[in-house]
Subunit: 352 residues, 2 copies
């Protein structure tokens, strides 16, 4: 299976008896080339099946035309939609995308960063893994002036450009909503509080409690990873509480769905006995029963905004150095898993 020889600008040039410089310029649509020769060149290029050699071009241009993205998992609804948003923008802008995932491991994230650095991506978009301890592995990018934008799981030390939502507010809104539904003992199931997103949602949760005169009870905080087994455990933990909680704010829809299932299996009525609010607004929300209230966290927007800012920076339009934090709109979506008040209303009606 010998590789066929590729057509190069040399072949086109000699076939037309012109110089490679003209061919090169024509193929880039340089206005300096006359329309006549341009047409000849384009036609022949098409006929001969010419394809530009990106390696030769990039070698000469000292640019890779590639953007890297580091995520913690592919099998997450949120991440997938971020990727879709990023892909849309980068493709439009003519960049290649290299996707790397860390499987929530610090060491893999470091390896990925090193790999993308060695591949010389023009820019990087990254979300931190679960147990990422520091950002040293992104230093080489800074040193070589390769722009990096973080999203979702980030380090908000003001030194980096980050695309996030107002997690504080989201945590606040979710909790406040549960309180408004009459919940008094509200559990919060979340993940490592070392990660900004979870820490901030937790803060919002505490603020909402305190502003509504409910004392924070640390026994109602459950910290776990985001796996199915952890979710089941969390639910069992809730069931052992005495008195039972009457509401729960969960930092992830999948976990929320599993918790809800487990609670129902144990004869808890949702939302009557316990109201539930999840996070992300995955497709799953409207498929479980009752439908899951949640925070709408539009991954596609996150991806688009992050990619757009990076691309603009690379093209010299705008500069991410000036931008520290970009906050994406998010909002609470109320569905039946937390709608106690209607039930209360119904109950009242029955009494009449």
């Amino acid at each position: 299976m010998p590789k066929e020889k590729e057509v190069t600008i040399y072949d086109i040039a000699s076939a037309l008896n012109i110089s490679i410089a003209t061919v090169s310029r024509a193929l880039k649509n340089d206005p300096v080339v006359s329309k006549r020769t341009k047409k000849k060149i384009f036609d022949l290029a098409a006929k001969m099946g010419y394809r530009t050699n990106h390696f030769a071009r990039n070698l000469r241009n000292q640019t890779t035309n590639t953007i890297g993205i580091i995520v913690h998992e592919l099998s997450s609804n949120f991440i997938t939609s971020v990727l879709a948003g990023v892909e849309k923008v980068t493709t439009e802008a003519g960049y290649d995308l290299i996707i790397a995932h860390s499987s929530e491991s610090f060491s893999k994230e470091i390896a990925n960063a090193k790999n993308l650095f060695d591949k010389r991506v023009d820019g990087l978009i990254a979300s931190l893994s679960f147990d990422t301890k520091n950002l040293d592995h992104y230093k080489p990018f800074k040193e070589k002036n390769v722009p990096v934008i973080f999203f979702d799981r980030v380090e908000q030390d003001g030194k980096n450009t980050v695309v996030v939502i107002d997690n504080d507010k989201c945590g606040y809104q979710a909790t406040e909503h549960l309180i408004q539904q009459g919940c008094k003992r509200i559990v919060h199931i979340t993940s490592s509080l070392k990660r900004n997103v979870y820490a901030q949602r937790f803060n919002g949760y505490k603020e909402a409690l305190s502003e509504n005169g409910i004392p924070y009870d640390e026994n109602l905080l459950i910290v776990h990873d985001l796996s199915e087994s952890a979710a089941i455990e969390s639910a069992m933990q809730m069931l052992k509480m005495n008195p039972l909680p009457d509401g729960v704010f969960i930092t992830n829809d999948f976990v929320a769905a599993v918790v809800m299932r487990t609670l129902k299996e144990n004869n808890i009525k949702i939302p009557e006995d316990m109201a539930i609010v999840g996070f992300n607004n995955d497709a799953i929300c409207t498929l479980v029963e009752p439908a899951l209230s949640t925070i709408n966290y539009p991954g596609i927007d996150v991806g688009e905004v992050a990619a757009r800012n990076l691309v603009n920076h690379l093209k010299g339009i705008g500069n991410i150095q000036n931008t520290n934090t970009i906050i994406i709109r998010s909002n609470l979506i109320i569905r039946n898993s937390s709608l106690k008040s209607e039930i209360i209303e119904k109950g009242k009606k029955k009494l009449n």
Copy 2:
């Protein structure tokens, strides 16, 4: 923000007062270089922050070290797990991966194929979009001897290497199971019968019916796309049937979940009134109520096998020319959405 100059083998060579040839060889760990000089070179390279220029290398080597993959959607559970499988193998083997998605559009698939061809991927993995009419856009790859492996949605004309499951058998098993549960009027909700996967599952469905003496009724066949709205429509269509069906085999878990929700909203009891079997074994299956019976279609295995075969072919181990069809194991998973017989048993017990 001037780009810092990169360290090249020239820099290392002149610093050590040796030739670039030796440096180049040392960095590739060529045994011809003495251990002493090798060590000097490695040490200095590390100290100077040398990174190999992949463009120069690929230009010289006439190889891209890149594999392309064309899928129809990113936001599909199945596709994501295929990607995970592919990614695992290609990364291990040292290949880059370029992911392109067609959003189920023929023209986009053509554009993606052209793009990946122009990027000169060493090999291609592809699943056809919904309305792909022909495979002409893959011809350039064949002509240049670039290996292509198709998976899931494929053209089984014997001309291509494909990785699939036995969709016939799956359709048969799903339907047979419903029949065993006592279903007599079994609806089949699927997608375009022009695509092999759906056509074959449909075949299996018909075979199971006929072998069990149930005449095929074309009114029970519903063909739609795989969107939520289409799923709702399909369910409404079922509800209008007279007499009502008592079972349904659906070609996709998400659609099955939406159908089930819609049926339940219309006071249909699952599985008592209608038993449901989906397809894929997405995470969603155990989160809906009742849990969804389904066909387990392990995307990660599909991805791994496809990538492994491609990589081996590229490395000269094995040859996909000799392999036409690779069939991945799949199996029926029975959950409560189709378990009528237990109910029947319970009913009998009550009578006693």
